[in-house]
Symmetry: none
Subunit: 128 residues, 4 copies
């Protein structure tokens, strides 16, 4: 993870977990890194990681076993998808659609931009 200056680090951490859970990199019951260890690995203060974990626990994505660590919750994937989807439809999309209207961008235009984006992505993959 290399941090995007824009978003707070702790939210980038939560995002990493949400995405990883959705794409099944983490599965129910998996233990995740301890607060300290993840902090060291990310070169970040434990408080920052703690903040991310607290958020995820609040949203029922992870849970804590006392003195042992944090684990992926039962319905983590469903909850993660739910959070992401709400964010998407309530925050991201309306903004995009409004901008489209103002700029006079049609849905057909959007499709072109979509294809361009996909090819760009795949190229960056090739270069690795």
């Amino acid at each position: 993870m290399n941090f995007n200056s824009k978003k707070p680090i702790y939210l980038q951490i939560t995002d990493y977990f949400l995405n990883s859970i959705i794409s099944k990199k983490y599965n129910i019951g998996d233990r995740i890194l301890s607060v300290r260890d993840l902090a060291i690995q990310l070169g970040v203060n434990p408080n920052t990681v703690m903040r991310a974990y607290t958020y995820l626990q609040d949203k029922n994505i992870i849970f804590n076993k006392r003195g042992i660590g944090y684990f992926i919750s039962e319905n983590a994937r469903e909850n993660a998808i739910d959070i992401k989807y709400k964010e998407f439809t309530n925050d991201e999309l309306p903004e995009v659609f409004d901008t489209m209207k103002i700029l006079g961008i049609s849905f057909a235009d959007l499709k072109k931009l979509y294809k361009k984006h996909k090819t760009k992505k795949s190229k960056t993959h090739e270069n690795k």
Copy 2:
């Protein structure tokens, strides 16, 4: 304008001007409200309005006649469109497309959401 959104107020103000200029509510040479007056009208700190005006002046959207006021610049519309478009393709869209991928939302799904958004909007208009 909703000042409790996540977006800084001064950016919401600049956005209002960008949009208004693009949709020709303001035209070249028009005088806009003084910092003071707009601040009062919006119930906002004059510093905040000042910041928006400075931003717009920086981007050649408005210009200042000392002691007289702020006016819409020559190429305001072109510049506004340019700013908006860059923001759209560089910041908003990639984020949206990435989220789509993670959530497994197809472009066809997006179209449905687009239509839903349009009908919702028009309904709110009718109700006014």
Copy 3:
């Protein structure tokens, strides 16, 4: 406020606000002390207060006006009552009832303890 060693300080702060809102010491729209000021007044670190405020904002008890401060939310009282009531019936009460059963304390006994508690309270008030 003088802090109970048992409960975390930040939760005692949230509790103070919940109780104050329920008993109408704070009303909708009231501004509450700034993070810094409350921290100073309580002799506590601003982070601790911040934590309490973040919690209350999450629960829709208070909201933030950018750069201005925190204010009591629209439905603060309802939400506060809801939180307290759930805590009461889900956490506190079952424990009490279970203990009663184990110790063989009847509901009539409980009433006596209730009256005793009330008279004790009123006495402490008289002594002030």
Copy 4:
């Protein structure tokens, strides 16, 4: 025993013994499971069980015969009741009564909640 509750595990274990002794599931002189065995049975760290046993020994509920094991003490039941009762009247009850006052819950309301709690309990038993 639910080890994810807010209560420390070692206290949940002591509670189990206190309750069992009060309800005469354990009697004077009975040997209880070794630290090791109980730890295995509960899927818990031996240190945690040890802590519970130390606590109980401190309170004269159990005693240790070196090299042999832990046994129920002479006045275990009286002591257990004493501990529970003090905890009940000094800690649990005042909290409950205070919350009642804040929420405007009368003693009559409490009775309703009491009845509801009893019927709920008996139903869960039936379903087993």
